[in-house]
Subunit: 161 residues, 2 copies
């Protein structure tokens, strides 16, 4: 039997699976403590009138094997949107079949269609296996940029200073 | 005379000044070669029916002194948007008056109103003066994340592999 891989846009009916996949990704990254469970909010943020993000699902022989979550950012220098990849996850038993590559190729096709100048994402600097994989796709690492974050109560504290 | 500072949302009439400010920022960062001149595209991307980004303008005694350009990103873990600061620039002759801080406070207020869990931006790791300033606001640096970028023709090459 030849296995079949299908990459498709997520639908509202996928919401329970998407919530599970997000939890599985967080668990893999040992960041479960950051995960807030809120199906209604996620539904609104993905499928509402003004969505913040979009999801593509990978199905292997009809079973959901992985996902990517992404959104558009913007380069004022290039006057073009960029596609930002926030989440990429393939369930352990589906790995080493090219599913992550297929999900990323789907994003590259969407980026081309939306006339994006860049596809961007973040990677942990000690995750050499991931870095090698990404560089193999033609991606470049920006080694001297750091992400700066104002989080939670620190936002309101600063706003009200 | 007491100088007055006003922070306000950019209007379509500000477009020529915004284009100039973006060029000045790129020149300051020695990245002029990355700047594409396209007023019509920028107009559509900031003021069209589906804008990619928003701009806040700082006026000092009625003269445009600086700007921030920002957009919403998304945290699937937190189920909340984040406010991402793409550009921050204050013209040299208006510096050391607290204008950058006022622009950032405006963004923190917008982030609070939009129920964002985070305000994020990128900083060069050798720019210790900027890092000290941001940490003084309550921001944290994420030292082990790197930005990965697939750019221009590399996107189409990978999509069509």
């Amino acid at each position: 039997m030849v296995s079949s891989l299908q990459i498709r846009a997520a639908q509202p009916a996928d919401l329970p699976e998407i919530l599970t996949l997000i939890r599985e990704l967080a668990s893999f990254e040992e960041l479960e403590h950051q995960v807030v469970e809120d199906p209604d909010l996620l539904n609104e943020h993905l499928f509402g009138p003004q969505p913040y993000a979009s999801v593509q699902i990978a199905e292997w022989d009809g079973t959901i094997a992985g996902y990517v979550l992404y959104f558009m950012t913007y380069s004022s220098f290039r006057k073009q949107p960029s596609l930002y990849l926030e989440d990429l996850f393939v369930r352990p038993r589906f790995r080493r079949q090219g599913i992550a590559t297929a999900l990323l190729q789907q994003l590259a096709a969407i980026a081309t269609e939306r006339q994006c100048g860049r596809v961007e994402w973040a990677v942990l600097d000690w995750n050499q296996r991931a870095i090698d994989f990404y560089e193999g796709l033609g991606a470049k690492l920006l080694p001297d940029w750091r992400i700066c974050r104002l989080e939670g109560a620190a936002i309101g504290n600063f706003a009200g200073r």
